[in-house]
Symmetry: C2
Subunit: 494 residues, 2 copies
């Protein structure tokens, strides 16, 4: 629909007979919707899932498939790591912060081992091995990876343990994750209506959500939900008008989405008086190569370093795009470049090379002397194994000596190759509906709206201003399951 087509609620009294009825209606068949549908069906509810595309999977199926889980999972133990829910909580509170949602985060960490086992029970395979190198995503099928837990300051806040869990497949693992969840949903007995796009909520005279109006091609289809509606139709990164209103930092960058994240779930609910929160919060990834910047440095448009480059790359991306003037450059010297395995370069090669930093300053349009000053300071302390401003791990510290090379993040995954934006950055939205830990959507007075639930990026989850890979699939499925159970229990109890 157009960004401003009507999302106003429709009165139950105005709808004669519904085309379809069910107990729990789930809108959107990505990971969060799948989790909600599975649990609702497993609890005995008659469940229907609406998916606007011609097949299930959503953005989740196209993702890396990382699940941020810990507290002592089977994979962590097999790889030799002790972990506790408290360490996981302390790490995420800091890394997803400031202002992470501590109530949700506490439940998420305490329930993480069980949640991991839930995926296994659904048939999602996890190899019990660690990918032990900096990177956005392993090119192996290892089941565990570091996501910055061992970088400063996080290594001083919680005992480091890798918590990036991923299904057993090289690179993008979202496909296999969704394949298993989709099968589980079908097996639990939920039905799916594809090509069906929910446009408006149906509300009874008491303000209770009673169903949805949807569109299937040119046809209007109505759905009665006796128990509740679970909105799990994603965020709003594909809706530029909503981005301009709420999260303008993402305008012009690439969109991490299957193209259907138009915010319709959020808008249908706020049209009814639901509260939204943290609508400006975003995930943003800059495809600066972690293998390069760990060994060299990441500088901004003034030639300055601004973070320890061995931190989780989502956090150096956030710091760059949200807080530093661009463009951004990955700088490395010959000795560092020679160390990097070809696979770790992701097919990207240096844009510039030069014997001296002065030459690079000119190529990059940096103020004269800026990069020289940055490298001089870096080298002076690196000699001593120190990085007093940013505290990169000493194992990556070494004075940089020419010749130098520059890798342009815009030549990476979020460069011109994918959707054409070519800024080197891409992301998605984290803000959404204000929900209880059971997925109930709150109104502006803080009270649940009867019959309305939300999960995944349609809701505001565990995140504050930071983001770590696997926390969106992670909290979407964790709280999606809770939302599905809530909606099903409502049906049973009424």
């Amino acid at each position: 629909m157009s960004p401003r087509s009507s999302v106003e609620p429709v009165a139950l009294s105005g709808i004669g007979e519904f085309d379809h009825e069910c107990d729990v209606l789930v809108v959107g068949f990505g990971a969060a919707g799948a989790a909600a549908a599975y649990e609702a069906a497993a609890a005995g509810a008659d469940v229907l899932v609406l998916e606007r595309s011609s097949g299930p999977g959503g953005t989740s199926a196209q993702s890396g498939g990382e699940l941020y889980l810990g507290g002592g999972t089977r994979v962590q133990k097999a790889c030799g790591f002790d972990d506790t829910p408290d360490d996981m909580f302390a790490f995420l509170k800091a890394a997803l912060g400031p202002h992470a949602n501590e109530e949700k985060l506490r439940l998420y960490c305490d329930g993480s081992v069980d949640h991991f086992e839930w995926f296994r029970a659904r048939g999602v395979p996890f190899k019990e091995s660690l990918f032990d190198a900096p990177g956005w995503m392993p090119y192996t099928d290892d089941g565990l990876m570091w996501l910055g837990e061992n970088a400063w300051p996080y290594n001083t806040i919680a005992r480091p343990a890798p918590r990036g869990h991923r299904p057993e497949t090289p690179m993008f693992a979202g496909g296999i994750l969704m394949e298993k969840l989709i099968a589980a949903v079908a097996e639990a007995g939920a039905a799916t209506h594809q090509d069906t796009y929910a446009t408006n909520l149906v509300v009874d005279g008491d303000g209770r959500v009673a169903g949805v109006v949807a569109r299937r091609f040119s046809e209007t289809v109505t759905y009665r939900a006796r128990g509740g509606v679970v909105l799990a139709s994603g965020g709003f990164v594909d809706n530029d008008e909503m981005l301009a209103d709420h999260a303008p930092v993402l305008l012009g960058h690439d969109k991490v989405s299957d193209g259907t994240s138009d915010g319709s779930g959020i808008r249908m609910a706020t049209a009814l008086g639901a509260a939204a929160r943290r609508m400006a919060a975003v995930e943003i990834a800059l495809t600066a190569n972690p293998a390069v910047v760990c060994r060299g440095m990441l500088v901004d448009g003034l030639g300055r370093r601004f973070i320890n480059e061995d931190v989780y790359p989502g956090l150096f991306s956030h710091q760059a795009v949200q807080h530093q003037p661009g463009p951004y450059w990955a700088i490395i010297d010959e000795a560092g470049y020679d160390e990097i395995a070809e696979a770790d370069m992701w097919g990207v090669h240096p844009k510039y090379a030069a014997e001296t930093l002065a030459e690079l300053e000119e190529s990059l349009g940096l103020p004269s002397g800026s990069l020289e000053a940055t490298v001089e300071t870096y080298n002076r302390f690196a000699e001593k194994g120190e990085d007093p401003c940013f505290r990169k791990d000493p194992k990556w510290l070494r004075p940089l000596k020419g010749p130098f090379a520059v890798i342009d993040p815009a030549d990476g995954f979020f460069g011109a190759g994918r959707h054409g934006a070519g800024t080197g950055a891409g992301g998605f939205t984290l803000g959404g509906l204000d929900t209880t830990v059971d997925g109930e959507v709150r109104n502006n007075s803080g009270e649940p709206i009867p019959g309305l639930y939300a999960a995944g990026r349609t809701a505001s989850g565990i995140h504050g201003e930071g983001y770590i890979s696997g926390t969106s699939l992670g909290d979407g499925t964790f709280f999606g399951r809770r939302a599905g159970r809530s909606a099903a229990s409502r049906k049973v109890s009424e």
Copy 2:
């Protein structure tokens, strides 16, 4: 009320007889409410203003009273400046950006000379003289001041002209501004009910706003508004729960407010399905003294400069608090300090003094060598009258030589002295209801909600992510007037 007391709409059918009736009901008697009430009354409407405090004025009366106006006002001409609406637009688009509201901004700039004359016609006095020094606020009664129009990069974007207009009084001029507007409202025939706090909107069966329910001490009072309700009750900086949900950057800082900016106007409307936008946008001021930092430098918690210090201080504040690690320090040398008039120090004196930068680094807890590197680079270019990274005006550039002094922003206006927060920073919210240029509040489908208007910080105005003094009183009154006229014309035409 408590942050989460009910703001849900009340059905008209549930209210028997109203306690009071009027054509246009204005909620909140700050500058925006006054402007709306005046215009509605002047257009012949029967107008009632509700004010929750025991007297009118709101936050506006406690403010500096700056009005950002230009395009060739009488004061600008008298001071020898040619200005045009186009230059004003180009400056504000950049300084309030990125993502300023260009539709509102165009009207605001084109109507600015007329709006200035409207204030004069209401009796607001403006002295035809320029305060020509860097500062947050003149300590003189001059009627015009610079607000960064002459600093890079703005001086390359629009022809510089000072546009900070202020009523004729030293320091805080909001009192005299509101005194004149309050008198004008009374003279136009609008009535005021004080100690009256609007809690809920009243809505008829067609979704039209028909009035409000209010509380006066322990009593409930109902108001019927035949034409419309104008919400002008301020932003939400005093509501920490709303800050946590929407603008957490302000948590813990001082609040620029009279204490009543609890977001109730925004919440009453969003409870009804109104759209809000840019809820994360804020004004934030760091009381780093412009007279000091222009002559020296402003550094962050890593000892780095990050902006040209001669820019409008609201913009260096925004850059600091939103984007740099703190704490922030104003560094100056003896020669610079000796140049500054006592009145320009605002009663604040250096916290530290030292012969060498190494000593200062230790006193300030900065990484060893960081401040030395910053000053060394600064001096090297200042010798040549250059500032290649940040482009401070050459008139402020001079190599800094010890002894040095450090002024702590937390010793300023937003330090421990005022509300006790003591971070050196304070601010207010800029996000609010999505309104048309005529003040109509839009729903989530982009359509006006019949009978509902908003202005001032209850609405999202001309601002993108930046802020310049005088643009809040400026757009609040400009679009407040338009909202008042809209609400009054609705009454007449129906």
